[in-house]
């Protein structure tokens, strides 16, 4: 299915490394107590998450592979630059998903044998996870802006108000949650409030703002262009990008909430993971399908 063999090889390699490390290496200190499970139950849980994780990663890699193939086809056209950036952004999100998982597993294992490593583990993991949407959405945003410039469309006053309102709602709740976590729990981020705001909350809010703006820009582009068949394919791609952006925001909310919980049932943890998996899988699936349809238009 993945026509560029290198993408398939990378996917195979990353999934093999992730699964092997996840099953071999010990969990982070405190995980077993937090989930109230034994080490064997933990391994079984990891094993049961392999399939959905492999699926979401496959869809993410397939989506960026199809988008890159489409962008490559358009490289000498006006739209080529925009789609290339969107493809690059999707690639960053796909690779980020895989690499941050591997990094988390490795750092958790190091932390098991070096208890003093906890603060470094948490800080490195948090910043690594933050970098993914920050870089990914910036690329996607550059692409959607470039398409808007081509179609000579600009965000309307009503759309601006909706985007700002949506951003404020998400931003205020996220800031409240992080500061609340930092204040009432045992320093879960291992950062002072100033550093937390400057290097964690603000970059996240910036990334999400770019993400929300991109989702709106691609919607504007669809409204501005002609082509019943073309628009239908592009709408699927656009819907997929929007869902991936929403999924990324939901994932951060859930991650940050779970990070401070001292006592979570395995069922709740699974439910949270499956919500993320379903959202992201749907988003990447739509991106792949839309990109495939668009590429087909350029082939027949």
């Amino acid at each position: 299915m993945l026509r560029r063999p290198t993408t398939l090889i990378w996917y195979g390699l990353l999934i093999t490394v992730t699964v092997t490390l996840g099953l071999i290496l010990p969990s982070a200190p405190g995980t077993l107590q937090t989930l109230n499970i034994t080490s064997n139950s933990y391994r079984l849980s990891i094993a049961s998450l392999i399939l959905p994780y492999a699926l979401i990663l496959f869809l993410a890699f397939y989506a960026y592979n199809r988008l890159q193939a489409y962008a490559k086809q358009l490289h000498r056209t006006k739209e080529g630059h925009g789609f290339k950036n969107i493809a690059n952004g999707t690639q960053v999100l796909a690779w980020g998903l895989a690499l941050t998982t591997i990094l988390t597993i490795i750092l958790d294992a190091i932390n098991t044998s070096h208890p003093g490593f906890t603060a470094a583990r948490v800080i490195i993991t948090n910043y690594a996870i933050l970098l993914v949407p920050l870089i990914g959405f910036t690329y996607v945003g550059r692409g959607t802006r470039s398409l808007n410039d081509l179609a000579k469309v600009r965000i309307s006053l009503l759309s601006t108000r909706i985007v700002v309102l949506l951003f404020l709602i998400i931003g205020v709740f996220f800031t409240h949650m992080i500061i609340n976590n930092s204040h009432y729990h045992q320093d879960p981020y291992h950062l002072s409030l100033y550093w937390l705001i400057m290097t964690f909350i603000i970059p996240y809010l910036y990334a999400w703002f770019i993400g929300i703006l991109s989702a709106n820009e691609i919607r504007l582009y669809i409204q501005a262009i002609k082509g019943i068949i073309y628009r239908k394919a592009l709408a699927q791609l656009s819907f997929g990008i929007t869902i991936v952006i929403i999924g990324s925001i939901v994932m951060q909310f859930i991650n940050n909430q779970l990070a401070t919980e001292n006592n979570i049932s395995l069922g709740s943890a699974f439910l949270a993971i499956y919500i993320i998996v379903v959202i992201e899988a749907l988003g990447y699936g739509l991106i792949a399908y839309g990109a495939r349809q668009l590429k087909r238009i350029e082939e027949v």
Binding site: T77, K78, E79, I225, K226, G227, I228, I229, Y230, R231, K232, Q293, L294, R296, I297, E298, V300
Partner: protein, 95 residues
Amino acid sequence: MEEQPSLYDKVIRITNVYLGPSTERFIGRQVRNHLHKEPEEISEKDLYGLIDWIKVAVSLLTEDSEIVEEYTEQLSLLVGNSKPNKMTHKKPRPR
């Protein structure tokens, strides 16, 4: 006096309703690959063959046969009528 649009321009204008930004590339491919000439050189005589190829190609892009019929019908109106008659020119259904 305003210059009359060429047959190629008319084909592009109709196709744009269905294929948007990929219109020129799509028509370019159909003409070059199947008629073996430059897109701007198409004549009314070429149009019959071109419409058949376009019908096959667009059927691969959408399962909505109404769209395919509507599009090819629009193109057919160009045959033998270098200046499309607005009265007989069926308007694409709104979407």
